[in-house]
């Protein structure tokens, strides 16, 4: 057995530790004596491990994992691009990394400046009047945006009546979930021709009970909505607001601005488009940009500039309130600003153009081996269908598993729901032609294997640290807590050195 693959609590032993601290120069007294009457817990059983044991443990975990630093990660809609290391370095500068969220405005001018400037450049990139950087992810951004829309309807005396949100079936799955969290009702409308929005269906669904229309642009098929101006016009004429899900902003930067198209609110996933580390649960950041009429409702506090000095303004009577403690995930905001300033306006639009070019290159090449349900030029991602492989007894899931053997993370599978056996592929702009070709060759070989050796695909992956997992059983028989194996030596509770 690989020793490093044990849990930390199963490694080391009593007294194993990293730094050796000198003995305490004041006499020790029991905690219970110092805090009488307080319900103190007993000693906790922490792992006791030396520095090399800790290092090896986490290096081993990083080897077991697939991540963007190891190989291509074409996970559709997630924009798993390379995150330039200089952004981490800048975020690690002591002035940022050690700044305290409770420090006074006076002593936080640098950190406030970073957030203030980031809000300004995001507003410029998206074409909106103002931005909040509090929300910590796209879905929280969606909810923050909907809260502001609700506050706006309430301010006009229509809050009680307008409780429906129209969401096309090509939208992100989080949209209906955000609507539900507000206690509102989702009205799903089917896609029309070319899987883009059906204006007739939209018009039929609009009315005096509709609070908002949510549109994902480009949509989950990677297609640009060609009739956005009509959507925003129809929605506004019916008294509704239009929300743009900006998860796919990577295709649009420097090419078009949602604010100019008539959208009222959008969120931006900094951890996708603006290249901050993500995957494995974050942290991310989902700033929300709003048009002028929604500015009073932004989460408080907001940063204001007076006489060249920045300060937090809490006097925001119409604000929807805080949506995150302190300033959101500040380290992510630093990375995003560093990325934006490094690329500049030209670099950012080249980023989007290259993302679109890479996706179209792969799409045309793979359309020879897989079904391509929507053959229009795509934006930054595209959706193939694995249903042509069904006759060999092979599913999209098998293709996804087999890709792992080629050192590539699987694409998003079985989403969007409107394509059967869907494979949603987003190469991003940071993959070279050589890497794109490697991915395409792997996909072509897998299509060939489906015909000639389908049993390989059904058994895949063959070379990963863990073979195919029983996902059904893993979800049905949850084991949420580690228990000591019987007969194992009891690891001693942490003892203090005197």
């Amino acid at each position: 057995m690989n020793l490093e693959r044990r849990l930390l609590i199963e490694q080391g032993g009593a007294g194993h530790r990293g730094p050796e601290l000198p003995g305490c120069d004041v006499p020790e007294r029991p905690l219970a004596e110092l805090l009488p009457g307080v319900r103190l817990r007993g000693p906790l059983r922490f792992p006791q491990v030396s520095e090399p044991e800790v290092v090896r443990h986490f290096i081993e975990l990083s080897i077991l994992n697939h991540h963007i630093d190891r190989g291509m990660y074409p996970l559709g809609s997630c924009t798993m691009k390379h995150n330039p290391k200089i952004n981490d370095e800048i975020a690690s500068l002591p002035g940022f990394a050690l700044s305290h969220p409770l420090a006074s405005d006076e002593s936080s001018q640098g950190s406030l400046r970073v957030m203030f400037e980031l809000q300004k450049v995001l507003a410029e990139i998206t074409g909106f009047a103002a931005v909040t950087t509090q929300p910590s992810a796209g879905a929280q951004g969606e909810m923050t945006g909907l809260l502001m829309i609700r506050a706006w309807h309430r301010s006009r005396g229509e809050g009680e009546r307008r409780t429906r949100v129209i969401v096309p079936d090509s939208a992100h799955g989080t949209n209906p979930a955000s609507v539900h969290l507000l206690g509102w009702e989702t009205v799903t409308i089917p896609s029309g021709e070319h899987a883009t929005i059906d204006l007739q269906a939209l018009e039929r669904s609009l009315g005096d009970r509709v609070a908002a229309v949510m549109l994902t642009v480009p949509n989950t098929l990677g297609l640009f909505e060609p009739r956005i101006l009509e959507v925003t016009r129809l929605a506004h004429a019916a008294g509704a607001q239009v929300y743009m899900d900006g998860a796919n902003l990577n295709a649009l930067v420097g090419l078009t601005r949602p604010g100019d198209l008539g959208f009222d609110v959008m969120h931006i996933n900094l951890h996708k488009t603006f290249s901050t580390p993500h995957g494995g649960g974050g942290p991310g950041a989902g700033p929300v940009a709003v048009a002028r009429h929604l500015e009073p409702f932004l989460p408080a506090p907001v940063i204001e500039e007076r006489d060249g000095k920045l300060g937090l303004c809490h006097d925001r009577p119409r604000s929807v309130g805080r949506v995150h403690s302190f300033h959101g995930n500040f380290g992510i905001l630093v990375r995003a600003l560093a990325y934006i300033l490094t690329l500049g306006p030209e670099g950012l639009s080249r980023m989007s153009c290259t993302a679109i070019l890479n996706a179209n290159y792969l799409m045309r090449r793979l359309a020879k081996s897989y079904e391509l349900p929507h053959a229009e030029h795509c934006m930054h991602e595209f959706v193939l269908s694995g249903r042509g492989l069904r006759k060999y007894g092979v599913k999209t899931l098998d293709v996804a598993k087999r890709l792992l053997d080629f050192g590539v993370h699987a694409p998003t599978v079985y989403f969007p729901l409107i394509v059967e056996e869907a494979l949603m592929i987003e190469p991003t702009e940071t993959e070279t032609l050589d890497r794109l070709d490697h991915f395409a060759e792997a996909m072509e070989r897998i299509a060939e294997e489906a015909r000639t050796a389908p049993e390989i695909l059904r058994a895949a992956p063959l070379t990963t640290p863990s073979r195919r997992l029983d996902e059904g059983r893993a979800a049905r028989e949850l084991k949420l807590r580690w228990t000591a194996p019987s007969g194992a030596p009891d690891s001693a509770p942490l003892t203090r050195r005197s």
Partner: protein
């Protein structure tokens, strides 16, 4: 492949079987193939009134989460409590032990509006092109 002919079908892949004035409802084998391993089924409370073609529950599978639609309206008189401990029944016997709810229909004649086995099979074939 053939679907049972003693039940009627919806376009949302539910089936309904009328026996002695009570309608038993579940999802089809095609639905379970599409969903993959079912890991959780959320069902309504006994006594709730269901509206035809409105969601009455949720089926959660490894691949996706999907609403369940009532093939016809009526009052829920029983739910399959065995699914709480063993949701795999839905995969193993979608037309049998994997049933989901029983209801007393508001209008039993509405069953005739649903698809027959051959009609449902035809719809699936057309969908698969």
């Amino acid at each position: 492949m053939g679907y049972p002919e003693d039940v009627r079908y919806t376009a949302e892949h539910e089936w309904a079987r009328l026996e002695g004035g009570v309608v038993t409802i579940g999802i089809t084998s095609y639905a379970t193939e599409q969903l993959g391993d079912v890991v959780f089924v959320e069902l309504p409370e006994v006594g709730r009134m269901l509206e035809a073609m409105k969601p009455f529950g949720v089926v959660e599978a490894v691949k996706t989460v999907s609403d369940l639609y009532a093939p016809l309206g009526g009052r829920v008189i029983e739910v399959n409590s065995a699914l709480a401990d063993n949701p795999a029944l839905v995969n193993q016997e979608p037309f049998g032990e994997g049933w989901m709810i029983r209801l007393r229909p508001a209008k039993a004649a509405d069953l005739q509006k649903l698809m027959t086995g051959p009609e449902y099979e035809k719809m699936i074939e057309e969908h698969q092109g």
